[in-house]
Symmetry: D2
């Protein structure tokens, strides 16, 4: 799901509509805030793109990014079950 792109972990997520996409974003937002590690992300209707990198380390991919990427992937897989 994730690939390395521009010194970031990058993934693209697609949902059936905006409501599902934004509900996913809410779940991710709470987990990101809990970790104190926040994504760069873009949304347009049912599509979300996420880039994870660690600014404090000079924009490289760290364990924090890998950890958040796993949490995001889990939320995505849960919500795509329907």
């Amino acid at each position: 799901m994730w690939q390395v792109k521009d010194n970031s972990l990058y993934a693209r997520f697609e949902f059936k509509d905006f409501i599902d996409a934004f509900t996913f974003m809410t779940g991710v937002a709470f987990q990101a805030e809990k970790m104190g590690h926040h994504p760069l992300w873009t949304n347009q209707y049912n599509v979300i793109e996420i880039w994870l990198t660690t600014h404090d380390e000079g924009n490289i991919i760290t364990d924090k990014d890998r950890q958040l990427s796993e949490i995001i992937e889990k939320i995505y897989k849960t919500m795509k079950m329907e």
Copy 2:
């Protein structure tokens, strides 16, 4: 899942923590707003209780309540897959 209680469709939902519970609530909130039909609901940490009734019809259970109950159940089942 749903039972008739106090002239309402009533159900109790339990999640692993507050984040999952509130993410579920967000999904329900969008669908309720879309329908123009809103629940009475209570949340405490990982538990949500929902009562559905139709005020405009004199607090009886109508098709709107049954329709929203099905949507809510679907969101719940999706989010409990993890």
Copy 3:
């Protein structure tokens, strides 16, 4: 705004519609999660009722409840400015 009721700090909040009410709830949800201290709350359309008490201390009102009540009040006042 807050009153003591059933060993809790209690307040009732009213908004112009469901969207404003739920946006307020989202702000409160993030702050509650951040504090690790969560309300008992009820929502129906544009009305939210909140009870704050500390279970770990045997359901009494503690500084955590007072602190969260102040944060909630600040969010409410911000959102009622419109």
Copy 4:
């Protein structure tokens, strides 16, 4: 606040932290869903950038974009009052 950029209405919003930024996004999300008109938007911590354009009209700025831009601006001003 809004400027024309890449055939879109564009604006940049800044908040004190991620929680405020995402609460603002939640308010915008509900209004966008209500209008059936959704933004392209990017978030990174406390900053949100929004582009509004109408795909169905061949990516030009229409009244729908202007209307949503006013709603977004109102939500922003409300939330910046604190």
